[in-house]
């Protein structure tokens, strides 16, 4: 081989020399060129990564029919991602993974448990479809609601509009997404406050970025834009303050790390708010023009109204009036209306903060009072209240401060209230939709979110979303499904769920108190559609193989920066195991076999809001054909060749579209609804909860706790979730977090690049313990320690670090898998979710990942 190569070298060197004479390669006439490899067919496919929820643009290089590399699509740099994460880089091994589900299988062992051998038997697609459709037909005839469809990442593989359409045609209300394992409390706080959810910090113009436990350098929504945007902004001079109990990668790159005690960030925000009010950092024009802060609140906690019209105190006429032209509302003050005392909503909150001094907050949050004062002053200065600036030719309010979070503030029992405290602070400074502030997504898209909840009872849905149990569960309550399945009557559900279909979700492993989750799957007939074997699949009766994101078509979900929009597709590059079906074709086939295809097509057109370009009845669609329809609809008929060649189309937004279409159009001035600085709707929802509980004799709702959860303003009590109150004898706070190198299923825990190639520390997680604390406990690095909470024990190796609070223990999730068929390395580590107590946020249903308390000790040898 070598000889041949050298001979060839000489030839190539001659070529190089020849080239040198022509001036092309003057410097390399003597470079020893080599033959390289045999020339194989090469192809670069532009597509979209769906390894996580960032949906990065990618270029997949295929050589000789084999995926050889995955790189970021440079054309997306102005729209979203500059690079891609190691999971995306190693994505080829998702497709080529030998631990994939490759054939339909049925279980032969009736005993279900993660410790049971399911006795898998390979079956044909025909048998699989027939068995499933027979079961579905029976359920549809009896009570369609007995079918539960659950998806997690499945939502992004084909879009949740298809499962929702299938469920609508079938007749079940039970389509359950995973948002309560992610950030639903943040979304619900947004929903209640400004009528929809989602925002992006305007990093390009921001001067101070205050981050509460978000982790944009590792893995969460918009991480692949925020990572480079924040890094660039830091170089320009933006300051980053990170407030979190554990020093994350984000904290490590920040200007300041403030290690707050877990669950106590709300009092920090309240104290900062108090200080800023004291120092006069209040954007009164913003509050009176866009929010309900000047509205008058009575002794019953409700906003005063004249009919439907909320009342403010008009400083011109010195009387209570609806906001109208000529009315100048007072932001502050106590007044008398109809002989009854009232205060402005702003003063209700301001007055409530009188005891929340920096010292009081310091006592609770264990952050020095001087640090709180300094941060408040920094925020106040940076907010530049009263200023405007120009972006292009567009002149607009300038507030270059943004507060940011995902799970950090919200994965807790009082997650909605905690994020609302930050929203209220930002409203007080005029930050929403300001240049340099936070850009709201689709303000007021759903006005119902800002009104009292229906508080439905009996619940229609198995997850109890929007029922009296989780009145504002706008984003499903995924972990509740298991509890309801185990005891439907306890929640007033008027049917017994019979069948669950899990599409690309490892739900039981992803939520807290996992033993209960697994137990629920013993009660139902379960079908799992998955790329890789998972614990959920292991507990199923039938498992169907799915195509991976590198093997299937989809009109892809996208992310973009605040100044752009884009439409993209995902397309197959290979089919590693020659599989026939994906989620789309499985649903299509089932709809056909159930004789409901026409209804399904109607429901698809409704769900995707298709009009000109839509699905037609009387014909089948391949996955590609479905993407062509959706592309044509989204792009108003652009040729599909563009999608095939470029992978996406993008639009850069004009400044007026970025800053002028949200709160400016929806909330500004008289005659418009107002952002709920004061959550009046929550007062009314609480009233409905009380009435429903009393009327229906509901025993498992503690109204006193709902009163705390449904407070119209943040309270000190929101810093004390159930374990903090009840488990005072347990000395440590237990928090969980995500690492870059894993997600919940086997696509990452059996990926050799992620497990062997990028470090010796990636295929196992550790119990992070403060070094001083560890020394006091007699622990050394790598000692086996036990974490004991009120619901169980797990053990794992410890890692001592200075980067965590002395009273806090941190464990990343998505390790410690339990499938016997996986290799040993894929099962290493700690499944911390087993010992996380479940005390969901009563408002949103959000899972309480960061509230549990524990003790730790060295495991016995």
């Amino acid at each position: 081989m070598l000889t041949t190569r050298r001979n060839f070298l000489q030839g190539i060197s001659s070529l190089a020399a020849l080239a040198a004479t022509s001036g092309a390669l003057p410097a390399f006439a003597n470079v020893a060129l080599t033959p390289g490899a045999r020339k194989l067919a090469e192809e670069v496919v532009k597509s979209t990564c769906v390894h996580c929820v960032n949906f990065c643009g990618i270029e997949v290089q295929k050589v000789g029919g084999v995926i050889r590399s995955i790189q970021p699509d440079r054309a997306r740099r102005d729209v979203y991602n500059h690079g891609i994460c190691p999971k995306g880089v190693a994505g080829g091994f998702t497709a080529y993974n030998p631990y994939r589900v490759k054939v339909p299988m049925k279980r032969t062992n009736p005993l279900k448990g993660v410790d049971q051998d399911p006795g898998w038997v390979e079956i044909t697609w025909e048998e699989a479809f027939q068995t499933i459709s027979d079961k579905l037909a029976k359920i549809r005839k009896e009570k369609p609601a007995k079918l539960i469809w659950q998806h997690g990442h499945g939502k992004y593989l084909i879009g949740d509009s298809f499962p929702k359409a299938f469920a609508k045609a079938f007749g079940t209300p039970n389509v359950i997404h995973r948002t309560t394992t992610c950030e639903s409390a943040r979304h619900v706080a947004d929903d209640i406050t400004w009528g929809y959810h989602g925002y992006l910090p305007d990093i390009e113009h921001c001067d101070l970025f205050v981050v509460f436990g978000a982790n944009y350098f590792e893995a969460e929504q918009y991480a692949r834009w925020l990572d480079h945007a924040v890094t660039d902004a830091k170089e320009r001079g933006m300051k980053v303050v990170v407030i979190e109990p554990r020093l994350s990668h984000v904290g490590a790159k920040a200007d300041q790390w403030i290690p707050v005690r877990p669950g106590k960030d709300i009092v920090l925000v309240m104290a900062i708010t108090r200080l800023l009010i004291e120092s006069g950092h209040v954007d009164a024009p913003f509050l009176t023009t866009y929010t309900n802060a000047p509205q008058l609140v009575g002794a019953d906690g409700k906003v005063l109204r004249d009919g439907e019209q909320p009342l403010v105190w008009d400083t011109v006429s010195n009387s209570a009036k609806p906001l109208a032209e000529g009315v100048v509302p007072a932001l502050r003050g106590s007044y008398t209306v109809d002989s009854k005392p009232v205060r402005t909503a702003f003063d209700v909150y301001a007055d409530s903060l009188k005891d929340m001094t920096p010292e009081a907050a310091a006592e609770i949050a264990d952050v020095p009072a001087d640090t709180i004062r300094a941060l408040a002053a920094q925020i106040g200065r940076a907010a530049r209240i009263g200023t405007t600036t120009k972006v292009g030719d567009y002149s607009h309010r300038y507030r270059p401060v943004a507060i940011h979070t995902w799970r950090g503030m919200t994965a807790k029992e009082f997650g909605v209230q905690t994020w609302r405290s930050a929203l209220m602070l930002q409203m007080m400074l005029g930050i929403p939709d300001a240049v340099g502030g936070i850009k709201l997504s689709a303000a007021y898209r759903n006005p119902d979110y800002m009104g009292p909840s229906k508080c439905e009872y009996p619940p229609k849905r198995v997850d109890l979303a929007k029922s009296v149990y989780f009145p504002n569960g706008h984003h499903d309550v995924c972990q509740q499904v298991a509890l309801t399945v185990l005891d439907p009557k306890a929640y007033g559900l008027q049917y017994e769920p019979e069948m669950q279909i899990f599409y690309a979700t490892n739900r039981p492993v992803s939520t807290s108190d996992t033993a209960t989750q697994f137990r629920s799957m013993e009660k139902t007939f379960n079908v799992t559609i998955e790329v890789h074997m998972s614990e959920t699949a292991w507990m199923s009766d039938i498992v169907l193989p799915d195509l991976s994101y590198l093997e299937s078509w989809h009109y892809a979900p996208t992310r973009s920066n605040p100044h752009a929009k884009n439409t993209a597709i995902r397309r197959p590059v290979v089919n590693a195991y020659n599989l026939q079906h994906d989620g789309f074709t499985i649903l299509w086939e089932l709809a056909k076999r159930l004789g409901m295809l026409d209804a399904y097509v109607d429901a698809i057109n409704d769900a995707w809001k298709l009009k000109e370009h839509k699905f037609e009845k009387g014909r089948d669609y391949t996955a590609r054909e479905s993407v062509e329809v959706l592309w044509a609809n989204a792009t108003k008929g652009k040729p599909f060749d563009i999608a095939l060649k470029e992978g996406f189309v993008a639009t850069k937004l004009a400044p007026v579209d970025v800053y002028g279409k949200g709160v400016e159009e929806k909330f500004r001035g008289p005659g418009k609804p107002k952002m709920q600085f004061y959550a009046d709707s929550m007062v009314h929802t609480l009233e409905k909860v009380k009435k429903t509980v009393e009327k229906e004799g509901i025993k498992n709702i503690d109204v006193a706790q709902y009163k705390i959860a449904y407070s119209p303003i943040p309270l000190k009590e929101h810093a004390f979730p159930t374990p903090h109150r009840e488990a005072a004898d347990l000395p440590f706070y237990l928090i969980t977090f995500k690492r870059m190198y894993r997600n919940q299923s086997a696509c990452s825990n059996t990926n050799p690049i992620l497990n062997f190639a990028i470090g010796k520390d990636t295929n196992e997680n550790h119990v992070l313990i403060n070094a001083t604390t560890g020394a006091k406990l007699g622990l050394k690095d790598q000692d086996l320690v036990v974490i004991e909470t009120r619901i169980g024990k797990v053990s794992g190796k410890c890692k001592l670090t200075e980067g965590i609070r002395p009273d806090t223990v941190g464990v990343s999730y998505h390790y410690g898998h339990s499938i016997a068929g996986w290799p040993e390395y894929a099962r290493k580590g700690i499944d911390v979710n087993r010992v996380i107590e479940l005390h969901p946020d009563r408002v949103s249903g959000m899972n309480s990942y960061n509230d549990t308390k524990c003790k730790i000790y060295k495991a016995q040898a």
């Binding site: 003597n30 390289g36 490899a37 045999r38 590399s69 870059m740």
Partner: protein
């Protein structure tokens, strides 16, 4: 032309995408990484810092590994006119002298070509036939391996007469330098004053590591502090 890499540790946030890209591109086998991430923590709670530094071959102008290999008589290590230091697996005996003398701990003696999926059939990427691989990817057990600056890509630039596109076009640029989410890495010609790498060396004070050894690395670091 002097090809160099600049790694900006003030931007690097430790994601290890560059490490993964190297592994995928260069037919990684367990136990012999060509690119590694070093995370360091310093200080005491709550005054803590953590730094992220990726390390690969420095492609030194005076490579200690080559000197050792030449002295030992194997002459398995070469440095070509693009400045790339390469190991010839056919000449390498796996003696380990190169690994012993490298101030940066770069050469890896790959004791065995372990499969990526132990106990399973080779994946299609592993099953690519030797004749379909670049020679730098035709690995052998008990030989030294290390980063090649993705020589198979640079070589292609030479073959295509596109050396001016090195560091600019993905097909002519090392894999690790293409995937960084925060643009912490750059590759290119230090002799070109308009290049990203030249500007970084000037404006950001990017510097070589362990200059006291006189090896003159062709990898430069913008250092944030902490241990390297």
């Amino acid at each position: 032309m002097k090809l160099v890499r600049v790694i900006d540790t003030t931007r690097c946030m430790g994601c290890r995408s560059c490490v993964a890209a190297c592994a995928v591109e260069n037919h990684f086998t367990p136990g012999a990484p060509w690119n590694v991430m070093i995370e360091s923590e310093g200080g005491a709670y709550p005054n803590v810092h953590r730094t992220f530094v990726t390390m690969n071959c420095m492609h030194c102008e005076n490579p200690a590994c080559k000197v050792a290999c030449d002295k030992a008589g194997f002459k398995a290590i070469t440095k070509n006119e693009l400045g790339v230091v390469l190991v010839d697996y056919d000449k390498c005996t796996g003696c380990g002298y190169c690994a012993a003398v490298c101030p940066y701990g770069v050469p890896q003696i790959n004791e065995k070509l372990a499969p990526l999926y132990p106990g399973q059939a080779p994946s299609p990427m592993e099953a690519i036939a030797p004749e379909d691989r670049h020679w730098t990817h035709r690995k052998k057990a008990r030989t030294a391996e290390k980063c090649t600056f993705c020589w198979h890509k640079l070589e292609k630039a030479v073959q295509d007469g596109k050396t001016d596109r090195i560091g600019k076009d993905p097909q002519y640029t090392p894999a690790c330098d293409l995937v960084c989410p925060v643009d912490a890495r750059a590759f290119g010609d230090l002799d070109d004053p308009t290049s990203t790498v030249a500007k970084a060396v000037g404006a950001k004070k990017a510097a070589q590591l362990k200059r006291e050894y006189g090896t003159k690395p062709q990898v430069y670091y913008v250092l944030e502090g902490g241990e390297v």
